[in-house]
Point group: C2
Chain length 483, copies 2
């Protein structure tokens, strides 16, 4: 491995013994970190990763792969690691982009490559991956695949499980190369098990991913819907019509109001778009509108047909066009939420997000009951009401995601408060038929709800897979608590 | 189970102890069936399937689920079943369509429902599944899912693995319900293991599937491309541009010629479309053109933009429009190939098909080497050359399928001849980087090439999964020979 590649400096170990969950942030602020990893190892290349996994297998070490360390659900979970030596494997040296094929619209990319760097390199050839999560500035390709992330434009480009062509994993049982071509009928597609596996089976070292021609044109348009309920119907019609939008994002009335107020209060910064004022001019804006932003990315030739079809559907739902300003504002700030969160935390205000997805027919009740569950948990722990709002931002023919944000005064026991709010939210999500995570991942934080989602037999299948790749439990990842 | 539901009649047993592979057809004609199942059981409902699987587990029976029995790769493989009693489970009574949700564009359908019946029922509500394999007239939903079929319009509607929302399987370890909502990041999507599993894990009893609004308009347009190579480039550009066609089918020069000749010779039947004549009028048709049929299915509003974009790409590749006639002809005959095959076989002419898929950059060499391998094997076994041609009919951003048809004089040892041609074709496919099956399945016939595709570690993962669901090997399916 090389001595230079083994780092025992306590600061570095502390940095990489946590991710970015709310609990991680509390731990980082308080200095009460459940467990520090024993060393951070930086393998120089793929062979070094393979050697390290072998070494770990022989010597009974536990390994947690890390690249961007942006996971927000406890994927790095020192508390869950047993007494064995715990090594965090920093994949930042696996940063090669080996082959960008314009002919096959595919690229071979090492797991540690940062999303921003990958987009830059693809952009040089007028290509894009199209994966833009909120963590875009700091996340890696490997982490995105292993968490099965969905970026803001997933309606257009798909999520990581759609983009993955083939993967190469260093597992304790050896190097696993998944099928070369995924669109096949040669038994179940085993490569499909990689996306969302969160390191359970081994360390992803390289992936072949699908890339796309960079869009000729990107255009955002905003609309005020009479209500979230009316907006949901419009989102459903848009998703089910197959109209080619790259993003459809609908805020509920409270989120619309919250960001509207925020913008009004920030004036003087940089000419904040005040869509309420524009809308008011139309004299038809409903008293508590729901904001919908629709984005198009693609060839110029399809722009007009796409938006004319979208406008027809939206008009049917009572939408009022608000022009381009709210979309511009959203696009400018779209990667900044994590910074807000850290800033507010420093002033005693907790910010946590909860996300799920379900069928269209289940979304209204899911929205209502989860909002109530989170509000009640805040009231119970903080003695004040806080703010809870939500948006829908990833649609499918059969359903959509739902993303909740809660802002609340911190209690005297912030960790206990967080656990309670989190538990109430997840319980309500699962009870209403939602998945325990649409795109954040399982991690230690969601592991207790895995059984409700996968079933007993599903979990036993997952354990059998774990046994096939990592029989001695070398891999240390929050998700293993689900097994 | 009920005595009436257990059928020991030799004719019925013979009918369901084989599928529709070339080997099966030879066996059926010669009366030399490797092994007859000991009984055909027709469970009355899902509970009866569960009871039967339990019974089989207790009493050491082996079970092969069958519905349409249209599989062409040895999914029903009596030769591979050991000495235990072998029961074929006829799922035809599992024919309920429980819930068609227009709101969620989803339906819960029992495994034995026939595709044609399902389309009829969906059509009553202006919906469609959009799965139209060549076996449409006789295939079931359950079989389509378990083989991970891809229908002729898969470019538009997706293949079975795309359409599957959730599945319910009676496994020897109990009833397995996969995740309710597949677009999630709660660990790997285990439901994805069902499509293509070919009964390895248990008997599919019901599936939630995605449905689509029936298209407002269906339109086929045909084009003559200067060559198959030029056509491949056009297909690639069409697939990678994201232009919304539901089908793109490109015949190589030999296939174009073959069907063209066939049509000319069939005149008098029902005014056969003679696209060669139409094309000749344009005086620009290349001497050996490659026929491309492009279909649109969707709202009228998108038709013009879609075809104008497609025409621009096709013109760039040197395509000449041939109007609607060749498409009409294709659409009329699109489910009749199996009948042709049986008819020709009765006259000593073997017809076999071979299909694969690979990346665009690999397709030209794959096409050439596989064509040569099949031709040589025919020459070797029949002392004559036969006819080998191919088409591309399912495209993806990174690659496409390739479907070969071979017509050849039968040798004195038709089974040996078939095995040799099949082996040479599969060897050539795998050597050129193709998948051993794009949409027919693994079955006994492709099982020997599974290791090349999945790798040793992949197969051990598959064995581990098999162990989790069917530890004693109750399920008898051709694909198990891969393990």
């Amino acid at each position: 491995l090389g001595e230079d590649n083994v780092n025992e400096d306590p600061l570095r170990r502390a940095q990489l013994s946590l991710g970015q969950s709310y609990g991680d942030q509390l731990a980082r602020r308080s200095g009460r970190i459940a467990r520090l990893c024993d060393a951070v190892v930086v393998p120089a290349d793929q062979d070094a990763v393979v050697a390290l996994v072998e070494l770990a297998q022989t010597h009974g070490l536990r390994l947690t792969p890390v690249s961007g360390a942006t996971n927000v659900v406890g994927a790095i979970d020192g508390a869950g690691v047993d007494a064995k030596p715990w090594i965090v494997v920093d994949l930042s040296s696996l940063n090669a982009i080996r082959n960008i094929s314009e002919r096959d619209l595919a690229a071979s990319v090492e797991a540690g490559v940062m999303l921003a760097e990958l987009e830059r390199r693809l952009g040089e050839r007028s290509l894009t991956l199209g994966h833009f999560p909120q963590s875009f500035a700091r996340a890696s390709l490997g982490g995105s695949i292993m968490a099965n992330g969905a970026g803001q434009a997933s309606d257009g480009y798909g999520r990581m499980s759609d983009m993955l062509i083939a993967a190469k994993l260093a597992t304790p049982r050896g190097l696993w190369r998944t099928e070369r071509f995924r669109h096949a009928a040669a038994g179940p597609w085993l490569g499909g098990l990689v996306a969302g596996s969160e390191g359970l089976f081994g360390i992803l070292v390289e992936a072949d991913i699908r890339v796309t021609h960079a869009p000729e044109i990107v255009e955002d348009r905003a609309f005020a819907l009479p209500s979230f309920a009316a907006g949901l119907e419009a989102m459903r019609a848009l998703a089910q019509s197959g109209v080619g939008l790259s993003m459809k994002r609908l805020s509920d009335e409270r989120e619309t109001d919250f960001y509207g107020q925020l913008r009004l209060r920030r004036k003087g910064l940089d000419a904040p778009p005040q869509f309420e004022r524009v809308a008011a001019r139309l004299l038809r804006v409903p008293p508590r509108p729901a904001l919908l932003i629709a984005s198009y990315e693609g060839p110029r030739a399809r722009l007009r047909t796409t938006f004319s079809e979208a406008h027809r559907i939206l008009a049917h739902a009572g939408a009022i066009g608000l022009g381009a300003a709210p979309g511009r504002s959203w696009r400018r700030d779209r990667f900044t939420a994590p910074i807000w969160r850290e800033g507010l935390l420093a002033h005693g205000a907790g910010v946590e997000t909860f996300e799920t997805a379900a069928r269209w027919s289940e979304l209204p009740a899911l929205h209502a009951t989860v909002t109530t569950a989170i509000s009640n948990a805040i009231a119970e722990t903080a003695g004040a009401h806080g703010v809870v709002f939500a948006h829908v931002s990833h649609s499918y023919p059969e359903g959509a995601s739902l993303y909740f944000t809660a802002l609340f005064p911190q209690s005297d026991d912030p960790v206990g408060q967080w656990r309670l709010i989190k538990k109430r939210a997840a319980d309500a999500i699962v009870a209403a038929g939602g998945t325990v995570s649409h795109h954040h991942g399982l991690g230690a934080d969601h592991a207790p709800w895995a059984q409700a989602e996968k079933g007993g037999l599903g979990l036993s299948a997952l354990r059998a897979l774990k046994g096939a790749f990592d029989p001695q439990g070398v891999m240390a990842t929050g998700a293993e608590l689900a097994l």
